[in-house]
Symmetry: C2
Subunit: 132 residues, 2 copies
């Protein structure tokens, strides 16, 4: 990939909750927080939950590469540029790159009351390696 559409930024400060290398840049904090997230091939975040008393969650706008999104107990969904993912609050999920492709998405934080993110266990190599 020659470059990311939106600024790539530096190493992700939340990298402790990611398997592999990711990069983060803040695109806007003008009322809605918007980030650009770049995952190197094989990189994915841990299972996590966006908690909120009301509202909350996250919207992903996929811009480059090939990736995955999975909700707990559901089949993984393959992601391509132009795809949009609505992640409700209180749903355990993960997202990240395919094993052979970088993956980039914009993440729009849906405002919510008492918003917080709970990080859970990693997506195991055994689970992840089954994905094409």
């Amino acid at each position: 990939m020659s470059g990311t559409l939106f600024p790539k930024g530096g190493p992700n400060p939340a990298g402790a909750y990611f398997t592999g290398q990711s990069y983060l840049s803040a695109l806007s904090e003008a009322g809605v927080q918007i980030f650009n997230v770049t995952f190197e091939p094989g990189c994915r975040n841990f299972w996590h939950i966006h908690h909120a008393k009301s509202g909350g969650g996250q919207i992903l706008l996929c811009t480059q590469g090939r990736g995955w999104y999975q909700e707990w107990g559901q089949e993984p969904r393959e992601l391509h540029p132009g795809d949009v993912v609505n992640i409700p609050s209180e749903v355990k999920h993960w997202h990240g790159a395919a094993k052979d492709s970088e993956f980039v998405h914009v993440a729009v934080e849906v405002p919510g009351e008492d918003y917080s993110t709970q990080w859970c266990e990693p997506v195991s190599d055994e689970e992840y390696s089954k994905l094409p």
Copy 2:
């Protein structure tokens, strides 16, 4: 342009407030409204104001082509893929394509109290034609 990154949608229902042809698709309404807006070359919206008692405004994420953003009384800002524009509420402004290029941006609506958009006069051909 071979295609838009996000779905292009049909003719813009707000087309009466645009000079030239634009297209609109809703990308998400899951807590934050997000649209994809495509402007044909020369197309721009009328001067307009996003009103809100608190919060409000709009964030533009430019994905394709070349365009312009201008606030009332300010110099126009040329826009390229990867650029981000934070539009505060209560600021009169317009945005659109360059005369020789299609232009596409994602528009994220910043939630606000009593949000409304006031459409004003068109950007005149005299003003617009001065832009490169």
